[in-house]
Amino acid sequence: MRSKNIVALASAIVASSLALAACSGSTGDNAGGGPVTLKVIGWKGSPAESAYLKDINAAFEKSHPNVKIDYTYAQGNSYGQKLNAELLGGNAEDVFMAQPSDLPRWAKAGYLLNLSDQSWATDLAAPVKSLVSAGKKVVASPSELAGIGLYSNMKLLKAAGIDKAPTTWSEFVADQQALKKAGQPGLALPDKSGWTIYQAINASAASRVFAGKPNWNDDQAAGKATFVSEDGWKKAMQQFVDLGDKGFVDYKAQLGIDEWSQGTQDFAAGKSAFLLQGSWAMSDLAKNGNQVQFTPWPGGDDGGQQAALTAVGTTWTINAKTSHKAEAQEYLKFWSSADALTPYLTAESSLSPFTSVPTPKISGTETFNSTVTAGRFWVLPAGGWANEKGQTAMGQAVQGLLLGQSSIDKTLEAYDTAAKS
């Protein structure tokens, strides 16, 4: 071997990669004049999704000719890592998406612009406002109130002689019995991420805990209430243990099914008649000409009123260090108007978080939306016990319960441990 050649080759490669690196280096900002480029980053608008986000940004640019939107999509898992580093480095995008559970932390670190004085802030529904606030300050603009509830495939239900989606737990159990008898597929609770059953229990709690104790979350946060001492939580969990005992749900199988890919595909393909999912999944689940109903989770007893579980999904925040504050505030204002929200909420099948912007009508979601409009809804406290940490720990604890490794009391104790920050 001739070492000279190797060295020559090596230096050639280094030199050429340096040259290429130099070429591809970032170009500086345009100086003065011209339109302002507003950098925006979010986890919505992947190439796999339809182009609604692009359309909304284009509409904004059209009505604001002096602003250009430079939107970056980053996939969910990696989004937080990228943004956390950028925020610390002080060079994050001007406007970024945030989950409600990130807001308290980011506000404390001084990353978020105070938005309390914005016109839309007074237009927020009360339970939503507390979720986008840190202390007394509004720090984010919610772009949706997502529902979490029961999807029913009406064609399969009809085959078992059922003509409407269940509204109470006893109806729900009877429907599953009827489906089983008719040889039809039943309820799917795909739970590989520990998400579905955790949310199903929360959805039952909407009727069993929060309908009677609307301030339960505040009490819990103040240390005045615990999961293990609340009978409604025990009953909610017992419902799911019973579904397994009665043979309606095979939990071992469900724990192996991915909520996001397989679970929704199975439902769309008619392999399950009932599924717990978020309202955003509607467009995916209703394809193949399926007749799909999205209703509040039927967790309550006969005679009681149904309550709906909702969650603040995506929110927009403004970087406190932005040099385009006015433009960024304009952008958020646009996002609180029907021009942006109607197409977005339609694509996500979600509810409007603003009192002045109506929720778009989407076939199949009428019952759910009217329940929320009637005020019978409860918002998941994503800044409290339902934050990411709590969700992971509680989801895993519930899996242990349904695999028979643990008891309801032990599971609720695990909830309390996870909820203590």
Partner: protein, 300 residues
Amino acid sequence: MTTISKIPVGASGRTASRTARGGSARPSRGTGGPLARLAGTVLVIGFVVPFLFALSTSLRSPEDVAEHPLALPFHPTLSNFSRAISAMQYPRSVLNTVVVTGGSCVLVVVLGAMAGYALGLTTLGWSRWAYRGFMLGMGVPLFVFVAPLYLLMRDLHLLGTTIGVILIYAAMNLPVAVFFYTSFVRTIPGELGEAAQLDGAGRLRTFFAIYLPLLGPVTATLLVFVTLMVWNDLMIPLIFLQDPDQRTLMVNAYSLLDERIVRPTDLFPAALLGMAPLFVLFVLFQRRMVEGMSGGGVKG
């Protein structure tokens, strides 16, 4: 350095001669018998089955896959691939990835070989500490110190530059390189280098003329290791590059992924396209690599 003698390391057949003492001096050099060969082949084929599954899924329409996840591609379509190619901006991202991977490999090999050479030849105090310091770096996952690293790269004005990413990869892979080279240099008889120095060759010349060529085999193994790591990494280009035109294959492949809607027909073609250039490279250099890895250099 002349060519390393390539003795075909044949093998005895079905353990020929238990009774061979005094009998035939040489056990038969069979091929391991047809049965063993069959078993081995089946085992190895088992390794590709997941790829065939991914390929077969990639060739079918999303509706078809949702309906019958395991069926064969009776109506093969390339539309998944063409969609992935345009969504991934394939040619551009392949080029970006090649530059990043190539640059990192060169830096790791040059710096690693030099350090390993020195650390392998001496075991005095400072070198022992340097070696230990490098070894410690093998145990740290990157995401642990990504925040201070980001601040550092910002202050060095290397954010958003390909060269910055190459430097990070080089630093991250140096521990493995030092580990490889140090252990290999230790197996090379010291007389080799000393003889050269007696002939009046300086340190640098001894390194390039005597040691570097001998390090060929271990370099091949190292290159495979580093290439795979850099090529398939997502985090560093995602965090340290910003311009969409700089994005690597993995970043673009992952941007196809929305956790709420994971479709095999989007993901599998992207996975296969992501590894395709590596596979081509690998088949092209397969002989070099296998031969390279199979050292024997010490025998000179």
